[in-house]
């Protein structure tokens, strides 16, 4: 499905975001939160890239960086080969093509606009005439399963959570974008409503030929909707791969632990020992070497000293890339293969 030659629609290179911390009155503190540290990945046209990880792993910061809602500390985002924010691709033009849906369906809608006006607002900013924009809003409302004659004039507080999230999806599509970034877009919904919205997302993707970046902490949902999945830990990418391969044969010890932390769904085969102890550490002072090594069941001394290579993560067309010394020949980890002759040279 992913031929190696396929040109990525979105390409992220060396993305870094550090948030400086305020010093206290005595000048102590300071330091930085390393929310995203050297993240590289690509999104291929027409695919759904799932992004998973625990709180503080940088998945939402990555989404905000993709939208340029916050300035990256370093690194760049290329869209269709052009650098975002350059003369070839001004920010306004980029944002027309890349839209986002947030977790909180209520906070992301203007309470003083009817939902029809909310959806029509974006296109009007981009020069579509009022009449055309409203017509488009109505047709999108119908597409997301909200009958325009009943719903167009309503305000956000008159809708249920699932209906509001449908409005947010319709608004994201109003600019006819090529990529939609969904940041925990179904996490706040009840299970039965979540299923409806997931089905809707699948239908819309087919109909409009969309590409999704789907961020969630729910592994079942990510597996269901994604073609490829990227696993993040403490601001870095731990593993990336085709969804089925990654879920069936995880290679990074963190991915393995994350997957086996999922409830078993079988009262006769309950999990007896938690795969990991403790909480994810704070991204203010991340551990050196591999950031996962203090919690890793396979960690050795070398893991605290050597940063695993990220080369394997960003290669186009690979089915599974992992940043772990165990999978790096010649890394010095006892489970790693010896270096091949050409790598040693």
């Amino acid at each position: 499905m992913q031929a190696p030659v396929q040109k990525p629609l979105l390409s992220v290179q060396g993305l870094v975001k550090h948030f400086p911390l305020k010093k206290d009155v005595l000048g102590r503190g300071g330091g930085v939160v390393r929310a995203v540290d050297d993240v590289n990945f690509q999104v291929l046209p027409g695919e759904t890239l799932g992004v998973v990880g625990e709180s503080g792993c940088g998945k939402s910061t990555t989404a905000r960086l993709l939208m340029q809602l916050i300035e990256p500390t370093a690194g760049e985002v290329l869209f269709d080969g052009a650098k975002v924010g350059s003369r070839d691709l001004p920010l306004k033009e980029y944002r027309r093509q890349v839209q986002m849906v947030f977790q909180d369906s209520y906070a992301s809608l203007n309470p003083r606009l009817t939902i029809e006006d909310s959806i029509a607002f974006g296109p009007q900013v981009h020069g579509v005439s009022g009449g055309v924009a409203v017509a488009r809003a109505r047709s999108l409302l119908a597409k997301v399963g909200l009958e325009p004659t009943r719903f167009a004039g309503r305000y956000p507080h008159e809708l249920s959570g699932g209906q509001r999230q449908r409005v947010n999806i319709a608004r994201a599509l109003a600019l006819q974008p090529r990529i939609v970034i969904l940041d925990e877009a179904v996490s706040a919904l009840d299970k039965s409503v979540e299923a409806q919205v997931l089905n809707l997302l699948l239908d819309l993707k087919d109909e409009f030929g969309l590409t999704y970046v789907f961020i969630s902490h729910d592994l079942h949902v990510v597996r269901f909707i994604s073609d490829r999945v990227m696993v993040m830990y403490l601001g870095e990418v731990a593993e990336v791969g085709a969804a089925e391969t990654l879920f069936e044969t995880p290679r990074h010890p963190y991915t393995k632990a994350l997957l086996s932390s999922m409830p078993s769904m079988d009262p006769d085969r309950r999990t007896l020992v938690a795969p990991l102890a403790g909480d994810p550490p704070n991204p203010i002072n991340p551990p050196g070497g591999c950031r996962f090594h203090p919690r890793c069941p396979k960690a050795e001394a070398v893991c605290g000293q050597v940063v695993p290579s990220r080369k394997a993560l960003a290669l186009p067309g690979v089915t599974q890339g992992v940043a772990c010394l165990i999978h790096e020949p010649g890394s010095g980890h006892t489970l790693a293969a010896l270096p091949t002759a050409q790598e040693a040279a």
């Binding site: 625990e54 709180s55 249920s160 699932g162 009840d190 299970k191 039965s192 409503v193 979540e194 299923a195 409806q196 997931l198 089905n199 699948l202 902490h217 729910d218 592994l219 079942h220 949902v221 597996r223 269901f224 909707i225 969804a243 089925e244 879920f247 632990a257 994350l258 932390s261 999922m262 409830p263 078993s264 769904m265 079988d266 009262p267 006769d268 309950r270 999990t271 007896l272 020992v273 938690a274 795969p275 990991l276 102890a277 403790g278 909480d279 994810p280």
Partner: protein, 336 residues
């Protein structure tokens, strides 16, 4: 692990109803819930938002504003009539007989006292012990809930702890006076996956070590299956199905339970396949229909379902479903 059938019930709820008044129309959050929890048993109440699961749980500790709440039915815990208690009796009951852990420990713990001070306060409120003795007990509790370097953590403020650690501290606080009943309101929902499983395993171990009864409220079937002996599924203020965890997952009989299990984006689902959804949304609790509240979303509904409240049908000993069509639902394909 399974308590014998004849173990006396610690919690006995009969036909409990809870309505919130003061709005335009009373909101019937719970209408006629009956539930028994035996000593040493873990029961999970599952359902979606507005199903009445948290309201039922909070009523067991009488946490609703008395002025705006209409209560009906009976609720006894350890032989005491909870609905009839006055404030002083409630203060003795809370923490000593039954205590609760909440979804968000940062909001439930007092930010201006150390967690150690809060545990000591709770112990000394209920038992005539010295501060030093209470402190020693707090330390033991922290060891029991497996908080690393417990002595140092007792002196920490809630904001200085990580999410998983705070939830462990709240469990320690809830267990401070050796209650018989632990009420857990979505205790793992706000936690990360790798931490959630640790807390679920901890609850299971504590239940076995201390012989606690636990009522565990969650919207996450996976979490419920990990800890519960029995599961009660709630919809629109009623328990629509109740049975052992095994029966519920392998042989659900209420249409809502069946639909809920099938609508999950579970790992075993084939890619590209559409999810089975439940059309529509839950009913407005201030305008409940006379018949089964699920009828308008139910594929098996008949006219009779819309006019009368379905009685609880006993499918197997201890496995009950409130549905008129349990004959038909037995032929539904089992959930993936």
């Amino acid at each position: 692990m399974k308590p014998a059938e004849d173990t006396p019930a610690l919690v006995d709820i009969r036909d409990l109803s809870v309505a919130f008044i003061g709005g335009r129309a009373p909101v019937k959050a719970v209408s006629g819930v009956s539930l028994r929890v035996r000593r040493g048993e873990t029961v999970a109440l599952i359902g979606e938002s507005g199903s009445g699961k948290s309201v039922t749980l909070r009523t067991m500790l009488m946490l609703h504003a008395a002025k705006r709440t209409q209560l009906g039915g009976q609720l006894s815990v350890d032989g005491r009539d909870v609905l009839a208690m006055n404030e002083a009796e409630l203060a003795d009951y809370r923490g000593k007989v039954a205590s609760m852990i909440f979804q968000e420990p940062l909001l439930a713990l007092d930010p201006v006292y150390t967690v150690g001070a809060q545990i000591v306060e709770s112990i000394r409120r209920h038992e005539p012990v010295s501060a030093a003795e209470a402190h020693a007990r707090a330390l033991k509790l922290f060891e029991r809930v497996r908080i690393p370097s417990p002595e140092r953590r007792l002196a920490a403020y809630p904001h200085e702890m990580s999410g998983g650690m705070r939830q462990r501290a709240m469990i320690a606080l809830a267990l401070a006076c050796n209650p018989k009943l632990l009420l857990a309101d979505e205790p793992t929902t706000a936690l990360d996956a790798t931490v959630q499983i640790q807390v679920l395993i901890l609850l299971r171990e504590l239940q076995q070590e201390l012989g606690l009864s636990i009522v565990f409220v969650t919207h996450d079937i996976g979490a419920a299956l990990e800890v519960a002996d029995r599961i009660a599924v709630m919809y629109a203020g009623r328990i629509v199905e109740e049975g052992t965890a095994r029966e519920l997952i392998h042989a659900p009989r209420h249409p809502y339970t069946i639909a809920l299990l099938r609508s999950r984006a579970h790992g075993a689902m084939a890619k590209g396949q559409r999810l089975v959804t439940i059309a529509g949304s839950p009913p407005d609790l201030s305008k409940l229909p006379p018949g089964c509240a699920f009828a308008e979303r139910c594929r098996w509904a008949e006219d009779a379902c819309r006019t009368q409240q379905p009685p609880a049908v006993e499918i197997a000993p201890g496995h009950r479903a409130r549905c008129l069509r349990t004959e038909a639902t037995s032929e539904a394909p089992s959930p993936p």
